[in-house]
């Protein structure tokens, strides 16, 4: 499986080959033009510059050793922030490098006007609507659509899945991706993107974080952080005035230290790392989100539209029972069904054979000599065998009745309808069997609901997410499967238009909807949905319409995608809360240290019992700096996410990050103070 292979490839967060380049990048990111994107860290850097200058030219009576340490830790605070971002980007960069290597070697056989001769040109020269020839062993040079031919294609470069997939002209499997390799046959591909806009380009940009734009929620959070910074700037800037009333003054370095500890440096330093890591988690999960906005939207989803087949039920139905009409022996029905299915290699056909042989002991029966096999076609919707003058058919009930016009009016037909209704009500799909136009009964094909899906839906319900099953089945069958699987609602006999209408209706009521789809006719719904996950095996239109692409083409993943979106938002919220809660302890460390010379009584506010004013200030600033790298693993991995309702989730996170954020710095600053004292640093 692609997913497990990816997981085993996942590197530990802190291997040397990731950390070493990140350290270099951390310094490179000190470039003010880049730093200004993060106003809180920019402020920190400005203060660090200011104090560095004051260290050289100023004289405020503080010991030089103390001031040097202060400046050092201020710079480290900034560097820890840029390092966190560099580390988060680094993980994507390695992946991007290998993708880029693939891209570099792409050449195209561009067909000339006559349609037979071609030029070999670099892939970068291909334009939209060029036709290229791709032969066995060639890499597909550009995203496109197969216009002629059918080929098996290895898409491991993109999906990590080594089993080849079939790509053919027309239908829902016509899309091909640049960088994948044709391993048999040849196809002609119409280029559908201009250079630099292909899937591979997008993927490179995405994993590298190069084109990363701040998401709406990140922008809002940044505004909050800027606001808090301004508030604390006011709080600190007015202190000299107050101190002068008290007949004293406070050195600039100390004010600077107070400012930097109060402004939300922790969350500001980790904010972009959290965003990059969130996207990265999706990529590792083999899902490409086209924007960070889509990932955030995933966390907000209220309604999940899930395709029945493959998501709720295992893809294939299984025969579980033979239901003869009255007057027909069940053995006779089983035998006819068996013969009709012997040449049927579909899983359903095989399951009929197994059922007939094992349950009804028809082990000896084999396909008669010279039997004519009638394959299933979409037009007739019937398959079967013509043997020795007998016509044995199986197929959809309506199709069988239509193929045997004489049988429609018989009592057997009425009987058959009753039987098939029963099967439908029980959540099965009936398959009628007829021999020479005589209706024998129906095969009960049962949808097998996936193990554990009921619990998953329970979890989603607890999270406030409603699940809607989308199926082409009739309402009876759909209701029965819905009941069995525990899905909240279903849309039966769904057409793409129904799907689109359902999404619109939910959205009008203010709900956010996620769905997945693969066909061209899914495209409008995919585009309308707030989170539209296109299957990678799907058509180009579907892949364009969705805002995510699942490279494994596994519709079940929609549930996990929602989880990843929530985890991203939770990580951001948890670290923001932690950062804000930290301020209480920092005040209690610095205020007594700052004012004790003015009013000795204020020493009682030194609740942590820090050894000296200088040590208190140093400890606060050291804590403030060190907490950033300590939280980097949390920022990159994300907070632990378990599906549960918002109430318990909030209680848990508030206890861990809110209360923890209040208490942790008291402990941390005290410990650092002991170390500072022990080492004689202040």
């Amino acid at each position: 499986m692609a997913r497990s292979s990816k997981t085993s490839e996942t590197k530990s967060l802190f291997t040397a080959d990731l950390i070493v380049p990140a350290i270099g990048d951390a310094f490179r990111k000190l470039d003010p033009r880049e730093l200004i994107r993060n106003p809180v860290m920019f402020t920190t850097a400005v203060v660090a510059v200011l104090l560095t200058i004051l260290l050289i030219v100023g004289n405020d009576g503080l010991a030089a050793g103390f001031k040097i340490q202060l400046v050092l830790w201020l710079w480290l605070t900034v560097l820890f922030g840029t390092f966190a971002e560099a580390l988060a980007e680094g993980r994507g960069k390695a992946q991007a490098a290998s993708l880029r290597a693939t891209k570099a070697e792409l050449t195209a056989k561009r067909l000339k006007g006559d349609g037979t001769r071609y030029d070999s040109v670099p892939a970068s020269q291909l334009k939209k609507d060029d036709i290229v020839l791709v032969q066995t062993g060639d890499l597909i040079p550009s995203d496109g659509e197969v216009v002629v031919g059918v080929a098996s294609v290895n898409e491991a470069a993109i999906t990590g899945e080594s089993a080849p997939v079939i790509r053919e002209a027309g239908g829902d499997r016509s899309a091909v991706t640049a960088g994948t390799r044709v391993i048999s046959d040849e196809i002609r591909v119409r280029v559908t993107v201009n250079p630099g806009q292909g899937f591979l380009d997008r993927m490179i940009a995405l994993v590298e974080g190069a084109e990363r734009q701040k998401t709406p929620n990140e922008i809002a959070l940044t505004l909050l952080l800027v606001g808090l910074t301004i508030i604390f700037l006011i709080a600190v800037a007015t202190i000299p005035g107050f101190a002068s009333y008290a007949g004293g003054s406070v050195p600039v370095s100390i004010l600077a230290a107070l400012l930097i500890t109060l402004i939300p440096t922790t969350i500001a330093a980790l904010l972009s790392a959290i965003g990059i890591a969130g996207m990265d988690r999706l990529v590792r999960f083999n899902v490409l989100a086209k924007s960070g906005r889509a990932v955030e939207a995933a966390g907000d989803i209220d309604v999940l539209l899930l395709d029945k087949t493959g998501t709720i039920t295992v893809g294939d139905r299984q025969a579980t029972e033979f239901r003869p009409v009255s007057g027909v022996d069940v053995g006779e029905l089983a035998e006819a069904a068996l013969i009709a299915s012997l040449a049927d290699e579909t899983p359903e056909g095989r399951s009929i054979v197994v059922l007939a042989r094992e349950t009804f002991g028809r082990t000896a029966i084999a396909l008669p000599e010279g039997a004519e096999i009638v394959p299933f076609t979409a037009q007739t919707r019937i398959s079967g065998v013509n043997t020795g003058g007998r016509v044995i058919q199986k197929g959809a009930v309506q199709a069988i009745l239509k193929a045997n016009p004489g049988a429609g009016a018989t009592t057997a037909a009425t009987e058959l309808r009753r039987v098939t209704d029963e099967i439908g009500r029980a959540g099965g799909t009936p398959l009628a069997v007829a021999v020479d136009g005589r209706l024998l009964g129906a095969i009960f094909l049962k949808d097998i609901v996936k193990a554990g899906i009921r619990e998953r839906f329970g979890e989603l319900r607890a999270m406030g997410i409603r699940t809607v099953m989308i199926t082409g089945d009739n309402p009876l069958t759909a209701a029965s499967i819905a009941a069995e699987s525990g899905v909240d609602d279903f849309l039966a006999e769904a057409t793409p238009e129904d799907k689109l209408a359902l999404i619109r209706k939910e959205q009008e009521d203010g709900r956010l909807v996620a769905m997945c789809g693969d066909g061209t006719n899914d495209a409008p719904a995919l585009a309308q949905a707030d989170v539209g996950v296109a299957m990678n095996t799907g058509t180009q239109a579907a892949r364009e319409a969705g805002n995510m692409v699942d490279l494994d083409s596994d519709p079940t993943k929609l549930i996990e995608i929602v989880g990843l979106g929530k985890q991203l938002l939770m990580t951001r919220g948890a670290l923001t809360t932690f950062s804000v809660a930290n301020d209480v302890a920092k005040y209690f460390a610095i205020i007594p240290a700052m004012f004790v010379a003015l009013y000795p009584g204020l020493g009682v506010l030194n609740v942590m019992g820090l050894s000296s004013p200088q040590s208190a200030i140093l400890s606060a600033i050291v804590f403030n700096a060190l907490i950033i790298p300590l939280l980097v693993p949390l920022a990159l991995k994300g907070v632990t996410y378990r599906p549960m309702g918002a109430g318990p989730l909030l209680a848990r996170n508030l206890a861990v990050y809110g209360l923890g954020g209040l208490i942790a710095p008291f402990v941390g600053i005290k410990l650092i103070d002991l170390a500072v004292g022990g080492l004689g640093l202040a």
Partner: protein
């Protein structure tokens, strides 16, 4: 602390909570523009007023239009008051023949009453004619209170409406609130006060002979009518300099209790109205619970500190609690409670001198105001200020449930965050900024009566009271100078309208949004967890900023007192 004291606090809290729902429902009817029992009598007045002034009460105003009309209205009233005060000497109803008010005092007073602050740099009975008291000042007591409530309605509509462009009609809100709530309640209230012994006359003063045979002049005037709305509208500007400590303003224990209740009555009612407006009264109760926690915590600290008294005096064989600056009629519990109530709400009426409280006892009133008057708060202003904090609380912690933050069905996005932060930042910026200036320049340093941290507290208190639109004074500060009148006037104006404008913008932005129905995955904004979170955010975001200033003021003062040093 005494059992009697605690019983008073408990009784006050009980009656207050019982008031929330009926008051809230009444306000909700006005919010919705529904008929009330008073419409039979007053409906024609309302309609006649609209007809006369050419107002279409059904015109739905965008937030910008609402804001412009509100500003023009308040600006005009400001100007009118300024002119009236300046021309006092030329106008009638001036039995004691007071002269014109100076420019800076008239400016300060006009702003003060327009901004629902009622900071008084003057002694009422020795400065203002009856006409000035009634027309120039009392009119604001009604209209600035009505403005506050109207603005709260506008914000409620922002939360309650879906994909709407308007947030209501300023004139209709003003008219309904004044006509169906403030006026009728004030009339009944004034009658009650008159029955309790509060004067209501156009006579200037009366000469009496005291028991000792000394002749004394007692100032009189239309006190009861001003007193009622002074409390109900959280205005706080006293007729007399001594405010509600004066026996003619607050004659009995009963009037004292009723005055305290009336300060909070509309404020608590509005929390219920908010719940009704957004379709879930538990939302309102959660907010009220958070406010009450902050209020009762403050009351406990102040009462405890005042009852504990001053160790320096204890050492001098003067036992007991701190009675300095308190009315013997009311005692420690009622004075402590009053001080917390009047500063929690932006009333500013006082029945004791906050300056004479113990350092920490007096810090609570100061801190209440620094939180932005959101603990119940001024009428309307309290709830809209608190809702701005709620927006921030939802934003900070809401992400922790894994959804983009939403509050009562409205998504909180960058615009709301930006505006809420802007509004909340106004408070520390002006309070701390102006206090710092006054602590440095000579004109400022000339103000405080006391030295050391206590003197600093006096400056800090004045600017805090002005910006928070409270209006209570720490006394001790000589504020009737061009410097302080000017600075405080500007502070009051900014503190009122620089919060209102972003707040209205939030209302407009929210109203335009669609509604997101709550699910099991939505951030829960009812229940104890949310209430606790609100308290935490108000304290951390609203309060922590002021910690350095408090450390250098009341906290240093307190710690010095423990060591036997007084200022």
């Amino acid at each position: 602390m005494t059992l009697q004291g605690w019983l008073l606090i408990a009784a006050f809290t009980g009656v207050l909570l019982a008031l929330a729902k009926p008051m809230g429902l009444w306000l909700f009817a006005l919010y919705e523009g529904r008929r009330t029992p008073l419409h039979r009598a007053l409906g024609p007045v309302e309609r006649g007023f609209y007809k006369l002034s050419g107002i279409d009460p059904d015109e739905d105003q965008s937030w910008r239009r609402y804001a412009v009309h509100m500003l023009v209205f308040n600006g005009t009233l400001l100007l009118l008051t300024y002119v009236l005060l300046r021309a006092q000497a030329l106008l009638p109803l001036n039995p004691l023949g007071y002269g014109a008010i100076s420019e800076h005092l008239a400016f300060n007073t006009a702003v003060s009453f327009t901004a629902n602050t009622n900071w008084q740099s003057y002694g009422g009975e020795s400065t203002m004619s009856n006409l000035s008291q009634m027309l120039a000042l009392t009119i604001h007591n009604f209209l600035s209170a009505a403005t506050g409530i109207a603005l709260a309605f506008a914000l409620f509509r922002g939360f309650a409406r879906r994909s709407a462009t308007g947030i209501g009609n300023f004139w209709a809100d003003m008219t309904r609130v004044t006509l169906y709530l403030l006026l009728p309640v004030s009339i009944v209230y004034a009658l009650f006060l008159i029955a309790s012994g509060v004067p209501q006359t156009l006579a200037g003063s009366v000469d009496v002979s005291t028991i000792e045979g000394v002749k004394q002049t007692l100032a009189l005037g239309p006190v009861a009518s001003q007193e009622a709305i002074k409390m109900l509208g959280t205005n706080g500007g006293g007729f007399f300099n001594a405010n509600s400590a004066h026996p003619f303003e607050n004659p009995t224990a009963l009037t004292n209790l009723v005055q305290m209740l009336s300060i909070f009555a509309i404020g608590v009612g509005l929390t219920y109205t908010f719940g009704k407006a957004v379709g879930n009264t538990r939302q309102g109760w959660a907010i009220l619970a958070a406010m009450m926690i902050l209020f009762l915590a403050g009351t406990t600290i102040t009462y405890w500190q005042e009852a504990a008294g001053n160790p320096v005096l204890h050492a001098l064989q003067v036992p007991g609690g701190n009675m300095e600056g308190k009315e013997v009629r009311f005692g420690i519990a009622a004075s402590s409670l009053f001080s917390v109530v009047t500063t929690a709400a932006s009333c500013g009426a006082v029945n004791a001198m906050h300056d004479s409280f113990t350092a920490l006892g007096g810090m609570i009133p100061l801190f209440n105001m620094q939180l932005g008057e959101v603990v119940i708060g001024g009428v309307g202003a309290g709830i809209y200020g608190f809702l701005l904090f709620a927006i921030l609380a939802v934003f900070v912690a809401g992400l922790m449930v894994g959804r983009t933050p939403e509050y009562v069905g409205k998504k909180i996005e960058s615009r709301e965050v930006k505006l809420a932060v802007l509004a909340i930042a106004v408070l520390p910026l002006i309070i701390l900024g102006m206090s710092a200036i006054a602590s440095v320049v000579q004109l400022g340093l000339a103000g405080p009566l006391n030295k050391g941290p206590h003197g600093f507290s006096e400056i800090l208190y004045a600017f805090t009271s002005a910006v928070a639109n409270n209006g209570s004074a720490f006394a001790g500060l000589s504020a009737n100078t061009p410097f302080y009148n000017g600075m405080l006037g500007v502070a009051m104006w900014l503190g009122r309208f620089f919060i209102i404008i972003p707040m209205l913008a939030v209302a407009g932005s929210l109203a335009a949004k669609t509604y997101t129905p709550a699910t099991a995955g939505s951030f829960p904004t009812t229940g104890p967890l949310w209430t606790g979170l609100l308290v935490g955010i108000v304290l951390i975001v609203g309060g922590l900023t002021f910690l350095p200033s408090l450390a250098l003021g009341p906290i240093a003062d307190h710690l010095a007192m423990i060591r036997g040093q007084l200022f």
